[in-house]
């Protein structure tokens, strides 16, 4: 397996969506190739940072606008 094959399979590898033999081949390559290991690790970190990031609080005026619009509509239907 070559470095370009690792990149090709990277998404499925990270999503654990590969059969065990292909996975084993990738891990064998990663054990020997520092560059690929860094690409895999930093791509994994990229996903985790976005996945774990907390959304910022709504700007106050945005929240007021949203809740006013909802109140108007919900009140209408009561």
């Amino acid at each position: 397996m070559k470095c370009k094959d690792i990149v090709k399979e990277l998404a499925d590898y990270l999503d654990e969506d590969l059969d065990s033999s292909l996975r084993a081949s990738i891990e064998e390559h990663l054990g020997k190739c520092k560059d690929c290991r860094l690409v895999v690790d930093t791509t994994k970190q990229t996903i985790q940072i976005y996945c774990n990031s907390e959304p910022a609080p709504l700007p106050a005026e945005t929240r007021v606008k949203l809740h006013d619009a909802l109140a108007k509509r919900l009140h209408h239907q009561v």
Binding site: T42, Y50, E54, A56, P57, T62, L70, L74
Partner: protein, 212 residues
Amino acid sequence: MNSPKLNPTQPTFLPSHVVKDDEPALVGAAKAGDIQAFETLVSRYERKIFRLTQNITQNREDAEDAMQEAFLKAYEHLGDFQGNSRFYTWLVRIAVNQALMKLRRRRNNIVSLDEEVDTGEDTMPREVEDWGPSPEERYQQSELGDILSKVIGELDPAFRIVFQLRDIEQLSTEETAEALGLSVPAVKSRLLRARLKLRHNLNHYFRRGATT
């Protein structure tokens, strides 16, 4: 008579991977006409839905409108929600549709999301550097949030939206494909491209020795 004000206090943030056990009960109550129950759902998800619409539209006014329309549509169509998926997943799909409409209206020349796009044969990463200490430890939360927003905003929409749904909202590949009218292979190739591009752009901030 004045319209009743909904609770304007900031809600407690709920991380994306946590599903509160009371969600089905709240949805059931909201379907039965309990306004407070719907209000609780809105307060629970408004931050995440706003981040979603903001990341898709890259325009605050459009993001606000898309979020508002998404919650209103969700309320109007609560009766259609069968409970086959999480309420949040259903809400995300409504919000994505609203945000995409805004995006298309503002950017007539945008590449259509269901068209073939060049996912690039040359995806080999060129910068391979250790990121050193955890970015969460190196940056304050608000600063890290600004970096993440800036970097994702630089992605082409066709890639950005797939990443948003798959890796931030945690929809499955199949759910993402269905929501965007794409094939599963198209979602996978765009996701790979998006992840590698984000990794590349974040490298500037997170590599060992980068100025913080």
